[in-house]
């Protein structure tokens, strides 16, 4: 399995505060990965490190086996759409593509034209006069025309309306299917991710909480409902991610090897959203020391 992006104990500090710390993860080729976390969790920092805008303060990041900081060889393999899809607003799409063709060794202008023609965005209008959704599409076309092997998108849909968001994600899925590009997409809009992503990275408070294939992760986690004072946890529970208690019963989101046999506990499947929210909860706020089950 080819690893496109790999980080090892990666850390980045702004002044004394760590924006990202001890981040170790691997992104296999061909995946569409969601990078999820609340604002300030370090998502942008991780993407900026991956595209070489930032230099790590600790650990290492490798893209296609190379260190990306200020490395042109990596830049030409990576497409990047920054947060709020910044573009020169007085440029037309055509001028932006001219820029792309002049600044990149490999640039498929025809592909960019085709993409905009498909969604009906005029190429001769300054992009500052387009809608937010259209501008995001132009930014995506600009990034995809590099024919990148890795596409990094930083909150590409955060500031556009739901319809444009869906169109954008459809367009993204379209190009991914065409080109087989690996995608890492950060977002805090969870509903969108379920349809688009097959790989998940959860960041919280500068640290990686969860990494893995979405279907595997969903299969590994269960929501368990059982009595409040039900005694010991079922043996199958490897880790309690989150626990909620009412007067009579406890609801756990747990990583399990298999559904529990214990008839006192009922097991339910979890959705991607449940899973992400469970990992984004504050892990230290567990009410019972008893729930701390060694993995």
């Amino acid at each position: 399995m080819d690893i496109v992006l790999e980080t090892d104990q990666l850390g980045k500090r702004y002044g004394r505060a760590w924006a990202l710390r001890d981040c170790s993860l691997r992104l296999p080729a061909g995946r569409v990965a969601a990078l999820v976390g609340p604002n300030g969790a370090g998502k942008s920092t991780l993407l900026h490190l991956a595209v070489g805008l930032l230099r790590p303060d600790a650990g290492a990041v490798r893209v296609f086996g190379r260190t990306p900081y200020d490395d042109i060889a990596v830049l030409s393999e990576v497409g990047f759409v920054a947060q709020d899809t910044p573009l020169y607003r007085d440029f037309t799409a055509d001028e932006l593509f001219t820029m792309g063709a002049r600044l990149n060794r490999r640039f498929d202008t025809a592909l960019a034209h085709r993409r905009l023609a498909q969604i009906g965005i005029p190429r001769d209008k300054p992009v500052g006069k387009l809608s937010g959704g259209q501008r995001a599409q132009v930014a995506l076309a600009l990034a995809m025309a590099k024919r990148p092997r890795l596409l990094l998108l930083d909150e590409p849909v955060a500031s556009i309306d739901p319809l444009a968001r869906r169109e954008f994600l459809q367009a993204l899925m379209g190009v991914v299917a065409e080109t087989g590009t690996t995608v890492l997409l950060s977002s805090h809009i969870l509903a969108d991710l379920e349809r688009t992503c097959d790989y998940l990275i959860v960041l919280h408070a500068s640290q990686v909480k969860l990494v893995g294939d979405v279907s595997t992760l969903l299969a590994e986690h269960r929501q368990l409902v059982g009595p409040r004072d039900g005694g010991p946890l079922p043996a199958e529970v490897a880790q309690v991610v989150r626990a909620e208690h009412t007067h009579r019963q406890s609801t756990l989101l747990a990583r399990t090897n298999a559904p529990p046999w214990d008839p006192a506990w009922k097991a339910y499947d979890v959705t991607l959203e449940d899973l992400i929210l469970a990992y984004l909860g504050d892990g230290d706020a567990r009410p019972h020391a008893a729930w701390e089950v060694p993995a």
Partner: protein
């Protein structure tokens, strides 16, 4: 990269060109008119006759009346000319400061630095083009103002070496302009917003310009001292010498300054109205006129030193800017 820089900044380039053209529209006719008057008053010949020596025979200055007439006619031009001092600063504010600051303020640096060009090269091309435009504009401007000011300088009252007049002609404006642009660029990497970067450029530019003009420029080379007698004066200072007089006054026989900012020359056997030559001012026998000055022949040398200092500072600022750009994200 060159295409991109041109496309991004063509409006500013156009405004710069329009500015220079407007300046030319003002300066060419007024410059020609001044030259015309200058020749009509016969100043050409008499200034040439004065030469460039610091002292001339007392009866040699035949230009006096004509030059006073010329200066009073064109006094307003010197006022207008002083306004030109701010032009290098304007270039720094509108070319230099937004160059990096606007990219970072609008986030477009993340788009352009992730194309296939390293940001080191991005910076070099952008700074190079901005610098080249500033260079061409300021050389045209500096030489143009030199031409325009020549009659005024020669007419004696505002020598080209004097503060303000030195600063707006020759190569010095080129040094100031490149410095202002470099300062604006660096300010933009430190305060990545256009307005704070412009403010910092304004403060930094004025601060260094004033400091260097008042503290450093008089000492680029050791100043010379000239003394000449008060009584029986057969010589006087030459208004056409173009010397930069740093200070002058009258000292007594022991060398103590009696009266600063005064100069007295009494011709032999002078019998003016009032007391004898300077007696009522407390001038005793043995007192003499004293002046500390930079000779006018050093004008281009000082221009070169001034320009060199500002270009060197600009180079340092640009180096720091490139270093900072490699750290921004």
């Amino acid at each position: 990269m060159i295409w991109l820089t041109w496309r991004q900044h063509r409006k500013q380039a156009l405004f710069t060109a329009i500015g220079l053209a407007l300046l030319a529209v003002f300066m060419v006719p007024t410059g020609l008119a001044m030259r015309h008057t200058f020749a009509d008053l016969g100043l050409d010949d008499c200034v040439r006759a004065l030469g460039t020596a610091s002292m001339i025979p007392a009866d040699a200055d035949t230009c006096g009346k004509a030059s006073i007439q010329f200066n009073s006619q064109y006094a307003v031009m010197t006022m207008i000319g002083v306004l030109f001092l701010v032009l290098p600063l304007l270039v720094g504010l509108f070319w230099g400061a937004p160059l990096v600051a606007r990219e970072i303020e609008q986030g477009t640096h993340r788009m352009v630095w992730t194309q296939g060009v390293s940001r080191g090269r991005w910076a070099l091309v952008k700074f190079g083009i901005a610098g080249a435009v500033a260079l061409v504009a300021s050389v045209i401007y500096g030489l143009g103002v030199s031409w325009w000011l020549t009659p005024m300088s020669q007419a004696g009252q505002h020598g080209r070496f004097n503060i303000f007049f030195f600063d707006m002609q020759g190569t010095a404006p080129t040094g100031y302009t490149i410095f202002a642009v470099a300062l604006g660029i660096l300010a933009g990497t430190i305060w990545p917003k256009v307005l704070p970067a412009m403010s910092a450029t304004l403060v930094g530019f004025l601060g260094l310009r004033i400091a260097l003009t008042t503290l450093a420029r008089p000492h680029y080379l050791p100043a010379r001292v000239l003394t000449f007698p008060i009584k029986d004066a057969t010589e006087q200072t030459n208004p056409a010498a173009g010397d930069w007089i740093l200070s002058y006054g009258i000292r007594d026989a022991s060398g103590k300054m009696i009266t600063a900012n005064a100069q007295i020359a009494c011709a032999p056997d002078a019998t003016g109205p009032g007391a004898a030559c300077g007696a009522d001012l407390g001038i005793t026998s043995g007192a003499y006129n004293w002046q500390l000055y930079q000779p006018g022949t050093r004008f281009w040398l000082f221009q070169g030193i001034e320009t060199g200092i500002f270009l060197a500072i600009a180079a340092l600022l640009l180096y720091l800017a490139v270093r900072r750009i490699r750290r921004v994200a």
